[in-house]
Every structure is written in C-alpha cells, then in structure tokens.
Symmetry: D2
Subunit: 387 residues, 4 copies
C-alpha cells in the first residue's frame, strides 16, 4: 500500500529558466516542506526544458520535452514514484491543453490564473473536473495573505455589518511604454491576444482584484459598467480598466486596474465599508489591516499578534514584525492544496482548516469576469450583467 | 484719497457661533495679516448674530441682524471705513441672495462653495459679476496647498508628459448613520434639499474633487458615467458617488466621493499618471508629493525644501518639517484675494503671482458638475456630456 | 473702567521682515482672534523696524526703533490703549534685556525659547517674575499639539502604567554644511556663541525635546550622560547630541538631537513605554498618536475624532482629517496666554482649561538642561546630575 | 567521483516541533531549491526528535536522538549520501558543543546567532575553524535584505560621503511582562542565564543591531557607554539597553534595543547620516530604502526596481511591489552558503557574488560586543573600549 506520509510530488508544466511565475510557484511549493518537485516539462523547447531541469537538480529522466510526454511517462511509473499532481505555470493559452490531459489521466491540477484562454475553455475544464472529481486549484494567490483572511473572517462574522461599498484598485506602471517591443518576455505574451486571450490588464490583474473582492466580502459582482483604454500606441489590448460595479445585497463599488500608471509597482489595495465598520488592506504592506468602527475607533490588526481569526493565524508562520510577503502568501495555497491532497490520497476527510484555496469555480468565475468586462466595454448601455 | 496700505476689511455673512466653515474662513482670513474682520451678519437670528459679534470682539454697531442691513449700512459708511468685501459662509441656499445684493451694491465677494443652490443661480451670478467687474472668489480651498500647486506646475511644464489617467477619491465616513436626525447642524443642512440643493455628497465634497482634478491637470472633464447611492435609510439625497470620467485630450479617470465610508475622516487623494511620470497627493498628509518617473524613479517632493516651483514656494510660510495644514492652505486663497483686491483698489495691476485663486468661473463649473452628475445618474446611457 | 472684552494687545520685540520665528509668533497670535499686534520694535536697525511695521500695516507712531523706546512710550499711553503684553522673538542673547525691562515696567511677557543666554540670566528673570507676579510665557510650542496633550492626559491618568522608557529624538539636517558661512541669517546667529549662548543644537532643539519629554511623562530628568560633537569643520559649537537619560521613578531613556542628519527636516518624535502601554508621536504627522496596549492591541488616536481627553479637544479647531499643523499648535499657547491674561486683567480667576502653557519655570528648566548637558559632555564620569 | 550538481544536504541540530528559529532555518534553506534537509537531531529529547523528523517526512533512520549520534553516523555514511553541512539552531548554550564536534568531524557549519554562550567559546570555535578551514556561517540574517545590501553598497561607493552618525534601534515589546513564568518556551530560555549566556536583550537582538550597523557602514564600533536595565520584576538579565557608541573614523551613534517597549513587534531600524547624504531602513517595511541628499533631495529606493547595486539585485527574486520578507532575507544567507559550499566541494573558486554571508569573524565580534556592553554597563567611567 502506498505511503503518503511524505511530501506531495509535483510535476511542473512551464516555468523554465527566466520565467517569473514558474519560479514563484516552485518557491511557494517548497516553502512549507509539504511538496517536492519531482519532474517537469519546463518549456516547449526541449533543450531549454532540459537545461531548466538540470538547474533545478532534477534527474534527467524526469525532465520531459513536452507536457504530453510528462503526463504519459509519469502515468506509466509505479504509484509510489510518479508525480501526485501537475502544476501548470504556462502563458494563458497553454493552460487548457495540459489541464485537460492531466485530468484525463487522473492527475490533480494546480493551475495559474486566469484559468484558461477563454470562457468556453474554462467551462469545459470545469465539466471535466466535475466528471473526474480530481482536485483542481487556481492560484488567485492574494487570498493567501493572513490579513486578507482576517478581513474575510471579520466580514463573515458581521464585524463591519452589511457591506455597502467596495473599492478595489490594482495599478501597475510597468507597461507605460511599449515594453513588449523590446523583447521583454513577460510583456510580450501578456499583450499578445494569441497567448493571453481577449484581455491584457483585465486578465492579468483585474481578475485578481475581482477574485479578492468577492473572496473577502463573500458577495458576488452582479453587474458592471466598464471603461477600457489602450493608452500605449502600438498595443492591441487594453492596458487600463475603470469599472463601476454592483454587488449582491445592494453593495456598490469601483474596481480599477492599470498597467500604465507610472510609478506603481504592484499596488493592489482593497477597501470595504460596511454599515458599522471599514477595512483597508494594502498588498504592498500586507501584514497590516486597518479596522475602523462606527464610534470613530481605528485599530491596526497585524499579522501574528493580538486577537485574530483562526484562518489568519493558520496562514502565519513567524512572529509579528518579521514580515511575511508575497511568496509566503502564495505558499499558503500550495500548503493547503498539499495537505488536502494528502488526506484525499490517504482516503481521509480533509481537514476543513486547509481546504481554503481557490478552485475551478473561482477559475471559471474569473473567465466570466473577463468576458463580462469586455462586453460591457463595448456596450453603450450603462449596466451589463455578470455572466 | 483713501489709503489702502492697510488690511482689507471683511464683512461676513453667516458663520455664527458653532458654525464650522465660518470659523475656518475667519482663521484663514486672519492668518497672513492681510485682512481684518470689521463687521458681520452672522446669523439669520439677530440675537445670535449679536452674540457672535460680541464673542468676536466686534463693536456692536457693526454687528447686523441681516445681510441686507449689513450691505446697506456699510455702503452708507465713508469709503475709508466701510468693509472692502463680503465673505459669504452660509449654507448653499443662502449664497445667492447676499452675493447678488453685495455685487449690486459694489462689494466684491468671497463665497463658500458650491457657488449656489443650483446651476441657474450660478449662471446668473456669473453674469452679474461680469457686468459689475467686481472681484469674486470661491473657496475651493484645496487648491491652496503648496504641494497641489507644485503638482499643477509640474504638469503644466510637462514633467509627467501628457496626462493619461486620473484618480480622485474623496471618502468620508461621518454620515454613515442618520446623524442629521440627532440634531447635528452640519449634517442637518447638508442633507436637506431645501438648503443644500439637489446634491449632498456630490455638492459638498465631489465638487472639491472635480475642481482640484481640473486645477491640477489643466484638463476639463468632458463626459461622465455616474452611479449615485443613498445608503442610509431615511436620507433623501445621495451619500455616495462613483463616477467614471473622460477628460480633454483622451485622458480617463475615476472620481468617487462618499460620506458613508466608515473610518474615513477627510481622505481626499489625487493621483495623476502621465506618459512619463506619475504624481500622488494626499490631503491628510498634504506636505508630501510623491513623484514618479519612467525610469522607475521615485522621489518625494516636500513643502518648502528642495527644488520647487515658484507657485509652491509662494504658498509656503515656514521651513520644511513644520507641517502646514488645512487652515494654512485655505488662507492662501484669502491672502491672494486680499493682495489682488488691494492692488485693484489702489488702481494698480495685480501681481500675477497672487491672482491664483478660484473665481466665479470655477464656481459655475462646480454647479455644472453637480447638474451633470445628477443627469448621468438618472440616465440608462453610458456617457453624459458635461454641461 | 477699562474694557477688556477685546483682543489682547501685543507689542513685539524682534521679528522684522525675513525673520522666521517672528512671523510664526504673529500668525500664531492672530489665528484665534484673541490677540492683535498693536506695536513693535522689530529690529535693532530702526529703519528696518520702520519698514517691518509698515509691511504689517501698523501706524508709524507705534513702530519703535528700540525695545526701550517701545516699553517707555507704550507705558506712557493710557491703559485702554497701550499694549497688554510684550512678545520677545529675538535671538537668545536679546531675550533677557527686554524681558527684564518689560517686567520692570509692569508688562507681562511671552518669550521665545530658550529663555535666556545662560542659566544665570534665567534664574534672575524668574526671580523678577516672582517678585512682580506678572504673567510670563515661554514658547515651547510643541506642547500645543492636540495629540501631545492627549499623550500627556493618557499618561497622567495611568493608561500606559508607570513609565519605563522614553525615546525623544529630534534630528534635523539643515546644518550639515557650513551654512552659516553663506550668509544664512538663521544659521548665523544660532551657531554664534555670542548670540545663541553656550549651545547650538542642544539649545535650539534639544531643549524642545527635553521639555516635551517632561511635559508628556510628567517626570523630570534626574541625570544624564551626554556625547556632543561638532561635525562640520569651521563650526564652533556642537551640531549633534546623543544623551542617555535617567528620569524620576526609575525610568530610562535616550534623547538625541542633531542638525547634521542629512535629509531630516524637523523630525521630532517621542515614544513613551510604560508598564501596560506605549505611545508614539511624530511631529511631522502631528494629528496621529499611536497607542499600544499589553494585549497586543494597537489603536490610532487622531485629532478631533473618537474618545479624547478634554485637553486634546480644547486644542482642536476643525474636524478630523483637516490637518492642523505647526502654526495651529503654536497658536494654542497664545490663545491660552491671551485668555488667561484677559481673566487676570478683568480681575477674574483664569479658567483652568486655558492656563496650560509653558511658563518661566519651564524656561529656567530649559536653561538648566543646557548647562547640564554641557557639563556632562565635558565629564569623564558616566552620570551627571541635572542642575 | 562525487556528483555535487545537486542540492546541498543539510543536517539540523535543534529545531524540533514548536521551535521558532528552527522552522525559519528550514524554510530559508528550502526556498531557493539549493538545499535539502536530509537528517536531524531535533531535540535533546529523543522521542521528540523522532516525532519532529516524522513530521518533516524524513526517513526514520536519519532522525537521531543526539547531535553526537548524528555526526558520527552521518560521518559513517558514504560521501555521496551523508549530510554536507550541519545547521545548529539550538539555544545559545548548545551552539558550541555541536559546532565543535561537527568541525572536528569535517562538517561545515551554519550556526544561529549569537555564536556561543560566551566570548571564550567563540574564540575557541574561531581557532578551530581556522585550523580546519571549514566553512562556517552565522545567521545574522538581517544582512540578507536587498535594501540592506543596497545601503551597504551605497556607503561603500561613497554615495553619502563619510559617515558621521548612526542610529540603530531595535525595540520589541514581547517581554514587557514576566512571560517566562507562563511557560512560553522562547521567553524561558532567552531570559535564563544558564542557556542564553550573560545577556538577554543585548544577546538576542542587540547583536543583530551591532552587526547590521557595522555591515552597512563598513565601520567598527570602537568604544561605547552602555546603560542596561531589568525592568520586569523577577527577571534576572537586562531587558533594555541604551548605548552611546563611537565608531572608526570619528562617527558617533546610538544603539538601543529593548524587549519591554510595549507595542513594538520587531521594529529594527537603521539610519545612517554621512557628509553628503542620509539613509533610512526599516525592517518592518524592508523593501524601501529612503535616500537623502545634500541638495534636499529625497528619493525612495525600492527592492527590484530602478537603478540598484548588483548586490541588491542578486538578493531579489521577484518584481517590485511583490513584497519579499523576513524568510526571503534569511534565505539569502543559506543560498549564498550553499552555492559557495558547492563550489568548494567541486574544487572550484566560489563565485564572489555569493560569498557575502556572515561568518565566524562576525560571530566572534558579536560575542565581543556582548562582553563589552556588559563591562560598560558595570563601569562608572564614560567610555569602554570594544573588546
């Protein structure tokens, strides 16, 4: 009988040398000692995949030239040896093929966001996931921050009352010029409709904002009014999005994301105002949550200190004042994924404290968000219903 | 011949004991030793006006029961004694009557914002001002901050390139409950359509945001899409406004103001992103201007130190690190108004360094903004042209 | 019988055109409508005094060539006309002569800090003040901030428990080079022992830190160990001071002030830690007080909002989020001085809510602090008792 | 011939379940895919060691009951299998024995700080290291932050001129009450002289401040004047330290550390002022470095963006605005250690870009710092020479 009291074994699709998000996935997976990288198809270029595997100290025989080869050959290995799940960290257009094939061969998936190239693919993957019952994670990673979980817990337990207003802003400045024309790889694929899908700014970061907003408030966006702009000459897709939103229960809000806001690094912020309180969270200072109350009280909740929700404490590793950052938050998704996967492999009921990570539903919703924004942007009418 | 080498003499309409903005106008007028308060009709209640005048150490004979009385009796005083101008600090519905009568009797006016009860009144006042040629100031006071002037100067001289995106936000939280039902006077008149006019949140603070945005960028709002909400049960007018805006030259933006954002004090912020740079200004830390450049440079401009524009330096009184605040910024409008008025009274050409204060045009534009927001809010179409 | 239901009349010694602190005193005195400037001897240069008086719109006959002339001629005016008190805003070596003469002629005094040229002068002035019983204020102005008063009230009412540790830091950078050699007037007299007295950095800003620390904690410094340095070649007096301090009741602390800390504007900060809580206050963001508690609670107290002490509220003029600054805090001293003086002139008991301003005792203590620091700096022993 | 193109193999002494710093070392070692944990003696309690090893998914045969057993048995394994180095993460009194034995058996060491129980042990370890020539790292981890390396590079290349003043502050509040009496393990050993050595606050965090200060400025502390206090009744060793320091080249400074500063988490800050510039770094916002220049310029250097030194860039993994934190900085030491060790094992010259991590010299210096502080605290003389 297979022993699962071991690290979960990860195979990776994409994430070759020089890739940004692939390296993040690897660090996040490694951090909590729950996962080991055992194989990979790191690039569509077989030689580059080989070099990447070597740099990652993988045995040559588990570095594959294609994801198809990886899935087939790993499948052929004995159960105690083969990878336990597949992490997909390729550009958007290459999420669907390996995700589909992995599930078809019985492998659980952890997929980078947005889930797919378009909404139709996302729906198809969801159907396949439902059919196979395989675990499927989508790395809307900002939900892994302790203070994000604290905000969610506070709202869920009524600590700011019924939500009235939400402001989600996600400005970046890195695409303020035609960077994609300079050979910068990140910029190149994200601004290319054949690889990124129908949206650039909205797909890359707007979906993070939409997910986090819904995750924290527990409310769905019901309709929106979007104003998209392509500011940089020579660019095909939007690089700026300003969106009015309506949410369930009568809440209103604003969601804006931008890649041309010169000087902005990754300035993702979320503010939620309820009937009796308010919350501010800033991704670039992620260990602080400002908490406001009706009696003009203002307190600072901080990662790892004072009275905090269990969900927040479970996402914290070190004492307050020792800043945890982006990788740590990302790693919470992997840690929870791995622990839940291990329970399932052992035939046990997963510990509900660790099942909190975005899955295929959140992935599909992200693709619906993109589709709705694009439809609203084209409409002359004010409000467009969320798909 | 009249000697104008003296402080300018101010008569005040409104601003009796307990009023917020009246006291601010008096402190602002007093700060720079250019103006003295010589008379007032501080309340529509004659006894309250008398008490207010006494508390202000005014001679009883120059404390009037009505603004009509004040204007007529001051007019009857010799030129060297009578007030030089009238400051109007009443609720919105009481701006037009004294402003009209003051101009009809030859008195320059300094009027609180918004200029009038409705757009028609504003247009009428503007026509009268044009006819009489009298000085007319409107206290869009946030334009008096040194770092606001620095931002304006930077944009005007091309330091961030062509403007692409603007985010003006103005959240407050003081009306998150039905404060007006508790007898709070500020809340009572601002939420009462018979005194405030057709808008509450948009009129009180949205107009500040619109003015500052246009003042700093030098661009006019051309069209908008507004989403207004009344969140607090029992309230008649909107207490929250989310607005997408388009500006001249293709710039886009967001303007949102709120009075139900629990925890927000007076958190007015402005961010402007151009082709080659970005600027952030925060009213609650007004002496800092963050300046971003394309090469990923980030510098901090600070009131009174380093390389600054002349307009910024002229709005600064004390060395860097000794914070100047809201009253100081407000006082810049009064100082400039007084110096310009003195020059005119002396028959001299005003020093162009001190003619920079909002006038009747800005006042009319503010009323047009309110009217357009309300029209857009009712429209099912996406974009509404600015009046 | 004289009517004192009027503004208090201020005569000023020093503060001619171009002076920094003189202008601050005038703005502070004017802000709250309690004081009017009626006369002055603005410069030791009679022509410059005349020009300054003209620029301040004073009648020529009340602009004097010397402080002696001012005191004598004002004394000769009828009681209802003459100045009510004298504000002294000259360099340190010129505090004692006018302060002494003013008291000898029955005039109350408001004097800039440090009180005198040396400790002996201070003691003499204190004796004269005691003998005459005249009001005497010393502008340790940082004690006028609302959040400083809040901190003091919190400690006085036991909200952080017995004080254990204090960190007072006051770095500036403006004298990092030999600015005094460039003709900069502020630098010239402050670094000149014949005008500033025996200390530069310690006298100019160290005394502010010492006063505030004692004001807020209610504890006196008992002994100290000082390390003074003159970093800039060509300078005579110290431009940097690092001091270990012991306070009453076993509290310990650090007080450091500097004028060579490049980049620092006026970065005066105070932190106090008690047995059950901690407080942080930053002069450059003066409307915020961070309040820590043993249970790892952290709350933000803000000027003018939430639960605050009466002393803090009385030092606040406008709603929260409309920043009050340096001049406003300075003006609290003048407002309190004026109200107390008016009560005394009217033969009434002063309202105890307004008697809170630094007086001659605080002035003497500041001079004792300077003397002790200098003695400690020369000593090879570790601890030197506070004079 | 042994293949070293693999992860370096780490054996761990200490760091059983529930330990703080052991878990940090493991996460730091894992993050960059350069090291794998292969064995450990995680506790002096053999059963606890076994449980810890199981939770870490180690094979039972490589989980040892004592460090002696681990060293002997690993030594007996074939070269291609045995651990490559030993990480020591025990309380201070247990650094020396395993470090000594490891070196005596030819194993390189990575040791937590402070290096030893007392200065004599440190000197002895240094002698042994010199004799054996084995790699020896000491985890003064704050030197791993990108902006710390940037500060060091800026000073080394003269960008702020000759250093004049340094302020290193390290307040914490977690020991403001007698936590050690509640069974809290971290508090228990750190405040126990038989396990922590002669100092508590100075040893635990003061040594970090001293190391970073010397690392960043490149200057050694030459003499000091220390004031130590034990504030909490029932505690044996100091919980607060205020120290005046002199550095090479005439620089002066202050170093203070505290564990009783209620509300402080891990608020380690460093400010350095030179003749032409100033730098501020705050550990709790580690990705920002404020840079001041003589012309009153103020710029913000940020991790991973803009013009940065190579040393800073090499310590950065992800794009600006994605915050890297404490674990990431700690991991830089392990990454550099592993890369240098691999080069040495391969017989190659280590890449000088990765030899930058604290070694035995820094460890000895830390113990000398502790000894000097304690001597100074007892002295009645002002200055005590650094050992």
């Amino acid at each position: 009988m297979t022993n699962y009291n071991r690290k979960m074994r990860m195979g990776m699709v994409g994430g070759g040398l020089g890739a940004f998000i692939g390296a993040v996935h690897r660090m996040a997976a490694a951090l909590d000692n729950e996962i080991e990288l055992v194989c990979g198809a790191f690039s569509s270029d077989a030689e580059k995949s080989r070099q990447s595997g070597e740099a990652l100290y993988l045995p040559p025989e588990r570095v594959y030239g294609t994801f198809e080869e990886m899935i087939l050959k790993e499948k052929a290995l004995p159960e105690g040896e083969r990878m336990d799940f597949v992490a997909i960290v390729t550009p958007n257009h290459m999420h669907y093929p390996p995700a589909k094939m992995a599930m078809e061969h019985g492998f659980p998936v952890m997929c980078d966001k947005p889930l797919a190239f378009d909404y139709a693919q996302a729906v198809e993957l969801a159907a396949l996931q439902k059919k196979t019952g395989l675990m499927f994670g989508v790395t809307h990673n900002y939900s892994g921050y302790p203070m994000v979980k604290e905000a969610r817990a506070m709202i869920a337990t009524g600590q700011i009352g019924k939500v009235r207003k939400v402001v989600a802003e996600y400005p970046q400045g890195w695409l303020a010029t035609l960077v994609e024309a300079t050979g910068q790889k990140q910029a190149a694929w994200r601004t290319d409709p054949s690889r990124a899908g129908a949206a650039n700014c909205v797909g890359d970061i707007g979906t993070h904002a939409a997910h986090l907003l819904e995750y924290v408030t527990g409310l769905k966006i019901t309709e929106m009014c979007a104003d998209l702009t392509t500011f940089v000459p020579g660019r095909v897709m939007e690089d700026d999005a300003n969106i009015l939103i309506h949410l369930e229960g009568g809440a209103k809000g604003i969601l804006h994301s931008s890649q041309i806001s010169v000087g902005e690094e990754n300035n993702f912020n979320l503010r939620v105002y309820g009937e009796t309180g308010g919350l501010w969270w800033h991704q670039m200072e992620p260990n602080t949550l400002q908490v406001f109350g009706l009696g003009n009280t203002q307190r600072i909740a901080r990662t790892g200190i004072g009275q905090l929700s269990e969900s927040s404490l479970l996402a914290t590793r070190i004492p307050a004042g020792h800043p945890e950052g982006y990788i740590e938050a990302f790693a919470i998704l992997y840690r929870n994924y791995a622990r839940t996967l291990r329970s399932l492999l052992k035939g046990e009921t997963p510990d509900p404290r660790f099942t909190d990570f975005p899955g295929i539903e959140e992935g599909v919703r992200g693709m619906a968000f993109i589709a709705t924004v694009l439809e609203s942007a084209k409409s002359q009418g004010k409000w467009t219903k969320h798909l």
